[in-house]
Amino acid sequence: MDQLDYTIHQPARLQIMSVLCQLSDGERVDFTYLKDHLGLTDGNLGAHLSTLEARGYIAADKEFVARRPKTFVAVTPAGRQAFAGHVAALQLLLAPK
């Protein structure tokens, strides 16, 4: 049975995972896009991404694009699975008994 994942359940991380899980395998978004899309600050988003990365739910790659450092973020298969499990657990909580 799927259980709530309290790493994902935090509102900002829930939004981050929702957004990243919309991408196809191999697709990723850059940090600035994600920050603007979610309306978070640099520090706030960075902290949440670190938490998710530590759990292995996302992968962050730093690259230089036109000589500027850019961070790209993608969901991992484990993250996708955890998010799907979390959504299933939420739906189960609301299901009539």
């Binding site: 509102p11 957004v19 939420l90």
Partner: protein, 151 residues
């Protein structure tokens, strides 16, 4: 647990809102309107032109690359380096169009190299070096064929 139960509707609503916002951003980002516009322009052109088999073949080839070959190849790549590695099919429509219009040995070169790149990408994506040898061999072989055997 009770907190979680109270939070659950809000969390599901947030997930749905994020999903819709991201879908909308993806739709806007992928430029489907531009594709529709140019697709209609091409179709309108074919209606305005005298039906010419070559023109129809060129349109079909370009649509095939735009709708099939490029999305398969570049939609599945995750880095600029990989995109560069698989960039050969970007130029193959030129061979195909020139082959259709002028002389068909270029057509077969374009088709063969594109088919090899797509097949390699789908079947053995880790062996790009082998593909480059194979595609190079196709071009060299076709060169010999044109020089010594063709016509």
């Amino acid at each position: 647990m009770n907190n979680a139960q109270e939070d659950a509707p809000r969390a599901l609503q947030d997930i749905e809102a994020s999903r819709l916002a991201m879908r909308s951003a993806i739709r806007a980002h992928r430029g489907h309107l531009l594709l529709w516009l140019w697709g209609l322009v091409w179709i309108a052109m074919s209606a305005l032109c005298r039906i010419d088999r070559r023109l129809v073949a060129v349109c079909a080839a370009l649509l095939g690359f735009g709708c099939l070959v490029w999305p398969i190849l570049f939609g599945g790549l995750s880095s600029y380096k990989a995109a560069f590695g698989y960039s050969t099919p970007l130029w193959m429509p030129l061979y195909i169009v020139a082959g259709i219009w002028f002389d068909n040995y270029l057509l077969w070169v374009g088709l063969a190299v594109s088919a090899l790149v797509v097949a390699e990408f789908l079947l053995v994506p880790g062996l790009f070096w082998a593909l480059t040898i194979l595609c190079g061999a196709v071009l060299v072989g076709r060169g010999f064929n044109v020089r010594y055997i063709w016509r």
